[in-house]
Point group: C2
Chain length 334, copies 2
Amino acid sequence: MGMERRSTLHDVAREAGVSAKTVSRVVNGDGPVAAATRARVLAVTERLGFRPNLLARSIRTGGPDSTVGLVVPDLGNPFFGALAGGVEEAARARGLTVLLGCSGGDPVREAEVVGDFLARRTAALLVVPAAGGEALAQAGAAGVPLVFVDRPGPDADCVVSSNRAGAREGVAQLLGAGHRRVAFLGDLPPELYTRRERLAGYRDALAEAGVPVDEVLVADARTTADAADAVLRLLALPDPPTALFASNVNAATGAVLALGRAGRREVAVLAFDDLPLAEVLDPPLSAVAQAPAELGAAAVRLALARLDGDDSPPRTETVPTRLVLRGNPVMAGP
Amino acid sequence: MGMERRSTLHDVAREAGVSAKTVSRVVNGDGPVAAATRARVLAVTERLGFRPNLLARSIRTGGPDSTVGLVVPDLGNPFFGALAGGVEEAARARGLTVLLGCSGGDPVREAEVVGDFLARRTAALLVVPAAGGEALAQAGAAGVPLVFVDRPGPDADCVVSSNRAGAREGVAQLLGAGHRRVAFLGDLPPELYTRRERLAGYRDALAEAGVPVDEVLVADARTTADAADAVLRLLALPDPPTALFASNVNAATGAVLALGRAGRREVAVLAFDDLPLAEVLDPPLSAVAQAPAELGAAAVRLALARLDGDDSPPRTETVPTRLVLRGNPVMAGP
DNA sequence: GTGAAAGCGCTAACAG
DNA sequence: CTGTTAGCGCTTTCAC
């Protein structure tokens, strides 16, 4: 196909009858260049289809390359997809290119990917940590800013959703509407940071409202099927819940499924994390919506602040969630 | 924080009392090195936390860098997220790192991103084209393999879903179940390649079954709200459809919404593209499921084949769709 | 087995 | 305003 050798600065220089440095000046628009010379160089650049080799430039300038590395557990999950989109947009707006890696939730793969990114001299690293410790050590040794996203890592910068406050706000809405029996659905004990926080938020809301926590209403549900079963069990209780708080998407799906099948549409359902189809569901699903793209954008900003020399102690930035109410039982009570 | 200067090959060489070349040999495991020397070098490498600079290596070897560039319109869309995941996995399995860019569906941004990737000397380019022509020209001039994904570009390699055959199969299922009035929901005239193909598949199935196309049943629906309105209009027809074929996710959402609200759960709904919540919907949603991750993996394979010297004419690879049936109306007929 | 020299494509530092 | 020299971190070539 195309010419095999890409043209270089020197090719342009030779063709234009100037020195390499002059071409460099024109291309980078720094030093002073006579208008005529500039025009001639530009013409040759165009004709040869010359594009400066960014890798070579990076080598020479010695600083970090104009890339940021992003490591997520799994791009099949729309949450991480949207997060990656936010990172890409914020990065590109600042002239940075994104290197993408998936850890699959495996600390070993995570460490490998981070190692690879570091070897490419990324300017910064954004990681949704599977474990994180290793990544932190590697990045620290290399002097590269690292920001944990969605989940805090060990003693480092991070950007997270307001998991606890959001859950509290959601459950408070249910309580405010008059619900007194509000069940919790999620994996117990919660393994992920985010899940732990949401459970804590649930307890906060009950405590604030002076409603004692009934541990019978706190149900372990790891899968959609689990959650559906749990809901049926809860509904069969002598004093059943009138509202459900699902701490994640799987739990929410199971809850809606079970309620729909059982024809119990008077039960309120509120989930942490919004779904595109939430309002089409029957019963409709209220949600504590996260802002994954904003999470990514905030992480980029924080990393770049570090790059600009901000050396204050590690900080945690919290991106607010937003309560989205749908359906009568959630809004009007039992 | 960390030491500011990263250690280099020469640092290791000096500390180990050998030449740079020897360290290079050890690191790359190529030339012959005495066991004792290798051990000493390895120890120093470890102690200094040395990681060879991949950019410098790339410069020197002159070949393409070990990256592949991926350009998608929008990562907020779970389909493209999953596609990116498939690319990442396949790329990493072959020792390649992914550069990620979003075009936002804008040909200008697409060309910018492609230009940037080329300047980074990516080994290959995978593009879900907004326009594609410019990308093709750029990559062609640079001699870099380019594969269009999900939508064909102008006269080049591409990997697509079996949009037409999948739609045909789906509609044939409806017809086979006894439905004779099958409506089509989608943007008309279809702007995207994928949508056009799906409409063609719809017509194919009707033709094969000897059912004449009633253009009244072919409805323009660009948004969810559009689709819901269209469904209500169709149901009010003197001879209304008993089944709906939604050519995309938005159309499907609107259809389910309208049918649910109207209480018309006897109407069959089948969508192109599956949704995680499809079986929880009421009415449940049957689907022609795509395999976005496989699409991405196939694109990587095709690009690498080109890199390995395959110079046969441009070819189109088709990734099969899979029919997922849910709910009685779809399976048992009207 | 090992090393010295040269050079990938580019830019920093100094001339002129 | 423009050119020369040197060298980024690495690998290639060829010598020992």
